[in-house]
Amino acid sequence: MANDKVFRLLGLFFLALLLFNFPILNLFSQGGSLGSIPVLFVYIFLGWGLLILFTARLVESKPEQNNKTR
């Protein structure tokens, strides 16, 4: 169980490293906007928020007890 968690966290780390670096980042860096908000701004802050969400879900998933409500 604990080992699975380690690998999931590592996976999330590498995914984030990929998504928040060039060349992926550059795909959203060509200008343009999403309802008057720049695409790059939306991509980064939305992605950042999702990263926080996934990190929270992973680290708080304790096999012994449910800690989410604490």
Partner: protein, 916 residues
């Protein structure tokens, strides 16, 4: 605004912080810790956000758009790994009572004093530019609030005694001393400090969000309006594309990498995340709460930058102070004051924690180890040292802040906050190989870490701080433009000819490349001391040690209880020293006053607690001065090795025994097989002999009965029958004689008397006896005897028997259609050699040995039924042995068989013994 009001508010604010700290410490003493919860822990980590974040990010965003973000995205990317990495570092540090990043590195590599010193120097010199930008931010925001204009005068141009920045530095030093060095905590934990930092984190976040919201939603009509305005302005719309803003992927990657390492390894981050940590499980919540904090504090950065550029198109205001100048421009003085307070809290929190962390390092890892080696100090046996330790820290706090002020005054002022801050990040990233390698790679050695750190630090110093001094006029300008001594490859901003990347990027790349490479290769080619090996094991396998704590009792040291008492009193003060010893007595249920000598357990206990107060390297030296043995002496190491060797030898012996046993078993099995084979042969032989016996008896019986029961049988018929009966009887006799012979030869071998005889005569006699038979069977035959007489010591009848035997065999087994037999007798050297050759089927190699055995008859389909008793060759073999000779066979399948007999000639040494 009146300067007096601002100063009053600042002092009131600081007093409030002290109140918070006081309350937190009071609650800690009462056992109801305020800071022992994950939210406070996460907020204390937000000390990462300094004036750099508060003012500098907007300044950076004004020139490079979202290019300010890698510094905050990096920590968010690495945060998922905190649960793995940071937790491990916390476990290690708690078990080793580690109090700083320098202490961590020193402790990992054998509690090396030198490594502690180097790491401390890197940290101090690396962080000084960082502290200087906090001074700059506080003083410029102060100037701005007072005069409402930026850049009225330059700090470098006014005398230091009129400079507000100097007084800010001094105030911060006093503040830090009051906060961090009131007493000496053996674990370096300051709950009051953490509580104050957490409060500051909340304040700076609220202040920044307030100003962000004010600008976005009051000055403009929300994000949409603001961004729309920027996109309509060609000068501003470039900020929405990284490449247009001058950020490339390489730079982005390095900035996020630097921030990933900084968020864990910066001295103040290490201090709040590891040293002040109350519970390792808080890391879980912090790994998402802290990135969330970063996200919130960054969301308004770009809007504020755009607003600043939009409102002040002339460039009248410094982008680094847009956060303040925007509310001032709209006449919101109270808001500006609140925002200024937020910036003040961001800067002070960083300065306090960073300087405390540095002062712990300087005291424990730099000054104390050097002091402990001086003779005067060692002779001075009594007196309280904890006072002196605090003194060292206070002095180092003042020194660090004055150095930061000096850097600010000399160079810091001309640079933006971010570009100076990044210099510090790059310095701290030099710790990455030693720390990461230290907790995952046991083979990493002290020499590797030392040389890697030195190389990385050297390149850092050469490529980053040095050029800033050039621009401050401390070093001639041609040094930058043409390199030292005109060597272009060594130009600090284009080291080794690397063009086209920004100087932070290239400095980070080269310094880390050399750092990692040297760390790795030197580690591979150097060896570790026993202490290094045991420390490496603890660091890498910390979870193993946590489970079975008694497992690592490697330190076998003894010391006098009295000495320990004195030592503790000296370094921790008497009350705390007694407290520690009492705690030990209680947990171990012993009375130390009854004991003269303290065992290894107590010595280790004292050392880890001392390490908390004065660092691992210093504690090692001090404990070493009162203990009898060095940690794991060489002899002990040898003893352990010896034991291991003995065990290995024992197991090898066992292994040998077992192979021997196996071999014996195999031999026994073989012998058993042989016996079985012999048994089978004997059974076969008996069957054969019985059959051979029955054949003549049957014919004798039949013929005799015919003669008896048939009267009037013709005379010649009777004659013929009688001849057969006689010959069959003779055959019977012969067979029986042979069997008897065998027994005789075997039982009384020594009873023969050998006499000189002519072997040629014997051979000729035997040959001529069989000539008729060969003629009858139409076998070509030939006898050749060279150099007769051939005299040997022998038994006439026995030798004759051998020759007859061999020739009979040849007759039996030669080619049935065109048989040919050659008998040859000659002399060769000392030997008489008799060769009897036939042209039969030959004998397969595997049977050639077997045929001289008792009862052997070659019996296969092609050869048909055996024709002899199976004793002939065995008898011959026995006889020849009695003549000190040999008998052997040479044969190839289908090329006939040659039997050879060699007997020593008369007069040679072999026979003389027998003659007597």
């Amino acid at each position: 605004m009146d300067a007096g009001i601002i100063i009053f508010i600042s002092i009131a604010y600081v007093t409030f912080l002290f109140l918070i700290a006081y309350l937190a410490e009071k609650r800690e003493k009462a056992g109801r810790s305020l800071v022992n919860n994950p939210v406070i822990y996460s907020l204390s980590l937000a000390v990462y956000c300094t004036a750099w974040t508060y003012y500098g990010s907007v300044g950076r965003a004004a020139t490079s758009g979202l290019g300010f973000l890698p510094i905050y995205i990096g920590p968010a990317i690495i945060a998922p790994l905190w649960w793995i990495l940071l937790k491990k570092i916390i476990f290690i540090s708690k078990s080793q009572r580690i109090t700083s990043i320098a202490d961590f590195i020193s402790s990992r590599y054998g509690k090396s004093t030198w490594l502690g010193i180097i790491a401390t120097l890197i940290a101090v010199f690396g962080i000084i530019p960082y502290i200087s930008i906090q001074l700059k931010a506080i003083s410029t925001s102060f100037d701005l609030l007072v005069t409402k204009q930026s850049a009225v005068y330059r700090h470098a141009e006014i005398p230091f005694y009129l400079d507000s920045a100097l007084y800010i530095a001094i105030a911060l030093a006093i503040f830090t001393i009051l906060f961090g060095t009131r007493n000496l905590d053996p674990n370096e934990r300051h709950e009051g400090l953490v509580a104050a930092i957490a409060f500051e984190s909340i304040l700076k976040l609220i202040a920044f969000l307030t100003v962000g919201a004010f600008i976005t939603f009051w000055v403009y009509d929300g994000f949409g309006d603001l961004f729309q305005k920027a996109m309509d302005n060609p000068g501003l719309s470039r900020l929405f594309s990284l490449e247009a803003a001058g950020i490339n992927g390489w730079e982005w990657f390095w900035l996020s990498f630097l921030s990933m390492s900084a968020v864990m390894l910066l001295p103040r981050q290490f201090h709040v995340a590891v040293v002040e940590n109350t519970n390792p499980n808080h890391v879980a919540k912090a790994s998402w709460l802290f990135p969330l904090y970063l996200l919130l504090i960054n969301i308004f950065v770009l809007p504020i930058a755009i607003a600043g550029l939009d409102q002040f198109p002339s460039g009248a205001q410094e982008p680094d102070s847009f956060v303040l100048s925007l509310p001032l421009a709209y006449g919101k003085d109270i808001l500006a004051l609140f925002v200024g307070l937020g910036g003040f809290s961001a800067a002070t929190s960083m300065v306090i924690v960073a300087v405390i962390a540095l002062s712990i390092m300087i005291g424990n890892n730099l000054v104390l180890p050097l002091l402990l080696r001086t003779q005067a100090f060692q002779e001075e046996q009594y007196g309280n040292l904890s006072g002196r330790l605090l003194g060292i820290r206070r002095v180092s706090i003042v020194v660090v802040l004055l150095l930061a002020y000096g850097y600010f005054k000399a160079v810091g002022e001309q640079y933006s906050l971010v570009s100076v801050g990044l210099i510090s990040f790059t310095a701290i990233a030099q710790f990455v190989p030693s720390v990461l390698g230290g907790i995952y790679w046991k083979r990493a050695t002290k020499m590797g870490a030392l040389s890697g750190l030195l190389a990385g630090f050297g390149i850092w110093a050469y490529t980053l701080p040095l050029p800033t001094m050039v621009e401050a006029g401390l070093i001639p300008i041609h040094f930058m433009e043409h390199g030292p001594f005109g060597i272009e490859l060594l130009k600090p901003h284009e080291l080794f000819g690397l063009h086209g990347s920004n100087h932070i990027t290239q400095a980070a790349f080269w310094s880390l490349l050399f750092n990692c490479g040297i760390y790795f290769f030197v580690s591979l080619y150097t060896s570790q001391s026993p202490l290094e090996i045991s420390q490496a094991d603890i660091f890498v396998d910390i979870y193993k040690y946590r489970k079975g704590s008694s497992d690592y009792d490697i330190m076998r040291r003894q010391a006098k209880v009295q000495d320990i008492r004195i030592l503790l009193n000296r370094f921790l003060g008497e009350p705390r020293g007694n407290l520690l010893l009492n705690a030990y007595e209680n947990t171990q249920r012993i009375d130390l006053s009854q004991q003269q000598v303290a065992g290894a357990d107590l010595v280790n206990y004292v050392e880890t607690h001392l390490a908390g107060a004065i660092g691992a390297a210093s504690a090692k030296i001090i404990i070493g001065s009162i203990t009898k043995e060095e940690p794991i002496s060489l002899e002990e190491m040898f003893k352990v090795l010896e034991q291991t060797k003995e065990i290995m030898q024992y197991s090898k012996a066992l292994e040998k025994k077992s192979t021997e046993l196996e071999r014996t078993t195999r031999q026994l099995k073989d012998a058993n097989e042989q016996l079985k084979e012999l048994d089978r042969l004997k059974a076969d032989f008996i069957t054969t002999v019985t059959h051979e016996l029955r054949t003549p008896i049957t014919s004798i019986k039949a013929l005799s009965r015919i003669m008896k029961e048939t009267p009037g049988l013709p005379e010649e018929q009777i004659q013929e029958f009688l001849t057969i009966v006689v010959s069959e009887s003779e055959r019977l006799t012969r067979l029986i004689n042979q069997v008897l012979d065998l027994e005789k030869i075997q039982s009384n071998q020594k009873n023969w008397t050998l006499a000189p005889i002519d072997f040629a005569e014997v051979t000729e006699m035997a040959y001529s006896g069989l000539k008729q038979l060969m003629r009858d069977r139409k076998i070509r035959h030939e006898l050749k005897i060279e150099n007769r007489p051939i005299e040997v010591m022998g038994h006439n009848d026995r030798l004759t028997q051998v020759v007859v035997n061999l020739i009979s065999n040849a007759i039996k087994f030669c080619n049935p259609n065109e048989g040919a037999i050659k008998v040859n007798l000659r002399q060769a050297g000392d030997m008489a050699i008799l060769e009897v050759r036939d042209n039969g089927k030959g004998i397969p190699k595997k049977d050639q040995k077997l045929i001289f055995e008792k009862f052997t008859q070659l019996n296969d389909e092609t050869r048909g039924k055996p024709k002899g008793s199976g004793l002939g060759l065995f008898i011959s073999h026995s006889i020849i042995l009695q003549h000190s000779g040999v008998i052997y066979v040479r044969s190839q399948p289908d090329e006939g068989t040659a039997f050879l007999v060699e007997i020593p000639l008369l007069g040679t040494g072999e026979n003389r013994g027998d003659e007597e």
